[in-house]
């Protein structure tokens, strides 16, 4: 009995071996194919960087990086053309700072309410609404800013035009709310319940617990949420293109019309001669923009990682 089993096994051994080899080859081939796909995210990210460098760096041969960054004159078609992007950078700064200042207290407050206070019925209603907001395309938000918000801003601040950095910043703050709310809420939920219970046991009220236990405990997560919101605001294009006003001067006040970096690229690239000086200069702005958002996101990632480790068990 035993012997028969053994002999049949040897009879099939050859076939089994070849089948196994074929399978192993197939598995290896599939594995390398899948590995290549896995690598694609890295390849594309490096590809973006490479392309921006290839098309953008030549701009610095014409204008020195210092002059490019700190110059205030952007006249791409005059003779000779001048490329100084300070006004675009200042506009991006204004719009990002204001939108963050508006969005952070509201977003974190909303997250604290949803995570700590709201009855589950309210939570289940509000969360889909926040998701809905994340789904509205930026061009629609720009259109709303154009039609509804800019007349309001114009009359409230008595301006010549309602298309200003402030208008763009308000729309942007709305658009960065979903990510701030959801990441902050997750961070608050990650604070272990024992912390809250210990706080209650010491006689703290629910609000005192939120303020002195939950929010400090979730602080790195909330910081990451803010960074992600900032990254969103820096990179947002359509809304600022439509409502920020598009003026070329260095903006000294947020109520002036201005042109953030994204808008400068979007409005200039259509007329730029491929491979020409203006084309290269716009890619150079794109390169700076890419590096700005990359560093903001890397910081957010680092901070979020720390938050995860904090309560990891």
């Amino acid at each position: 009995m035993l012997q028969r089993g053994a002999s049949s096994a040897t009879a099939h051994a050859g076939l089994a071996m070849s089948l196994k080899r074929r399978w192993r080859f197939r598995e290896k081939a599939i594995e390398s194919f899948i590995f290549l796909n896995g690598l694609l995210a890295v390849i594309i990210l490096l590809g973006v960087l490479f392309l921006l460098l290839r098309e953008g760096l030549p701009a610095f041969a014409y204008t020195s990086p210092l002059k490019f960054f700190f110059g205030t004159q952007w006249y791409p078609v005059s003779e000779p053309p001048t490329f100084g992007m300070l006004s675009f950078f200042a506009a991006t700064l204004w719009v990002t700072l204001i939108s963050t200042a508006v969005a952070v207290p509201i977003g974190v407050g909303c997250a604290a309410y949803l995570a700590e206070v709201a009855p589950s019925r309210v939570r289940e209603t509000v969360k889909p609404v926040v998701e809905l907001l994340a789904g509205i395309p930026s061009v629609v938000m720009g259109f709303i800013g154009l039609m509804l918000l800019s007349p309001l801003v114009q009359s409230a601040f008595n301006l010549n035009t309602g298309l200003s950095g402030l208008t763009a910043a308000i729309m942007l703050s709305m658009m960065s709310l979903p990510i701030i709310v959801s990441v902050s809420e997750d961070a608050l939920r990650a604070v272990p319940n024992e912390f809250r219970e210990a706080s209650y046991a010491l006689g703290a009220t629910k609000w005192e617990t939120i303020r002195h236990v939950c929010i400090p405990g979730a602080l790195s997560g909330i910081t990451a949420a803010i960074m992600l919101g900032v990254g969103r605001a820096i990179g947002e294009t359509m809304t600022v293109l439509m409502v920020a006003g598009g003026a070329l001067a260095v903006p000294l006040s947020p109520t002036e019309p201005m042109m953030p970096m994204t808008a400068a690229i979007a409005s200039g690239i259509g007329n730029a001669v491929r491979g020409g000086l203006q084309y290269q200069a716009l890619f150079a702005i794109g390169l700076i923009l890419f590096l700005m958002t990359l560093s903001v996101n890397l910081i957010a990632d680092r901070v979020l990682e720390r938050q995860k480790q904090k309560f990891a068990r």
Partner: protein, 288 residues
């Protein structure tokens, strides 16, 4: 004294909580207001002609049919180019990748890919697909550009869906002698499919609303006829909305609101479909 202290605490708490409720209201109410406002103002423009006719008189009359078709082509193109790659990448990260520096690098790249500004994707698409690969200003260039942008999302959602498949399923399959790939193909994938579909739909909805990249790589305001090949220029809803709202003087307001409404309906219906599938799957997996 003690009583007073408690009431003071109570008062602080009440004030604080009302502020939190206020913050939540500031988040939620404008969203609903915007959506309702668009529906109310845009509904007047919607007619059979508006949805099925090409534009005439520089967009001021006629319909937006080519823009709707263009947007659907873009959604399809984005899906074709980003979904398979995203799924395979998700499989790699969950089933094959070891916890080493390379995996960390890939994860970091995915995270940062999601944060690259859309206009930078536009520049990338212009430099790579339009000029270097010579696909021209076309549907193909735009689809590839949007697919690069959607990649972070398709990878992340595929990865989440695959991770959610219980370990026992894999072990059971491996125990009866299936190879790793057979296990993935016949056991893990069917289980992860709804989650992957959810991600695909979300990526399509995102592609439908994206404007800045296609502005750079091939959308046109008015194109005669529908695109007949991937190398044609095309109209798209978000670009049509942008141009009519910002660049066409004397454009009838109702028409612009109508375009915004159609775009919003396309994007949000795909979004809700994704949410619906997600909820259904969760109910089936954990019981309702």
């Amino acid at each position: 004294m003690a009583v007073q202290a408690i009431t003071k605490k109570e008062l602080t708490q009440r004030t604080a909580f009302s502020l939190l409720v206020l913050a939540t209201a500031i988040v939620a109410i404008p969203v609903l207001f915007i959506i309702i406002y668009i529906v109310v103002n845009g509904a007047g423009a919607i007619s059979w002609e508006f949805l099925t006719q090409p534009p005439s008189q520089a967009g001021k009359a006629g319909g937006i049919f080519p823009a709707i078709v263009g947007t659907f082509y873009l959604m399809l193109g984005t899906l074709i180019f980003s979904l398979p790659v995203g799924v395979f990448a998700g499989i790699y990260l969950t089933e094959y990748a070891r916890d080493n520096w390379l995996t960390r690098l890939i994860n970091m790249a995915i995270l940062n890919l999601a944060g690259v500004p859309s206009i930078v994707y536009g520049l990338f698409g212009l430099g790579l697909f339009v000029l270097t690969m010579k696909f021209g200003m076309s549907l193909l260039s735009a689809s590839l550009t949007l697919a690069c942008q959607a990649l972070a999302m398709t990878i992340t959602t595929s990865r989440e869906a695959i991770i959610a498949v219980p370990r026992d399923y894999r072990e059971g399959s491996l125990a009866v002698g299936a190879t790793k790939w057979q296990t993935i193909r016949h056991v893990v994938m069917p289980q992860a499919l709804p989650g992957i579909i959810t991600g695909a739909i979300l990526a399509m909805s995102r592609a439908a609303g994206e404007t800045a990249p296609i502005l750079v790589v091939g959308a046109a305001f008015i194109v005669a006829g529908l695109p007949s090949s991937p190398f044609d220029q095309f109209m798209a809803l978000p670009y049509h909305l942008y141009t009519t709202a910002a660049h066409v003087p004397g454009m009838p307001k109702t028409t612009i609101w109508g375009i915004a409404l159609v775009l919003l309906v396309v994007v949000l219906s795909f979004n809700s479909l994704a949410v619906f599938i997600r909820v259904r799957v969760r109910q089936r997996r954990f019981g309702s």
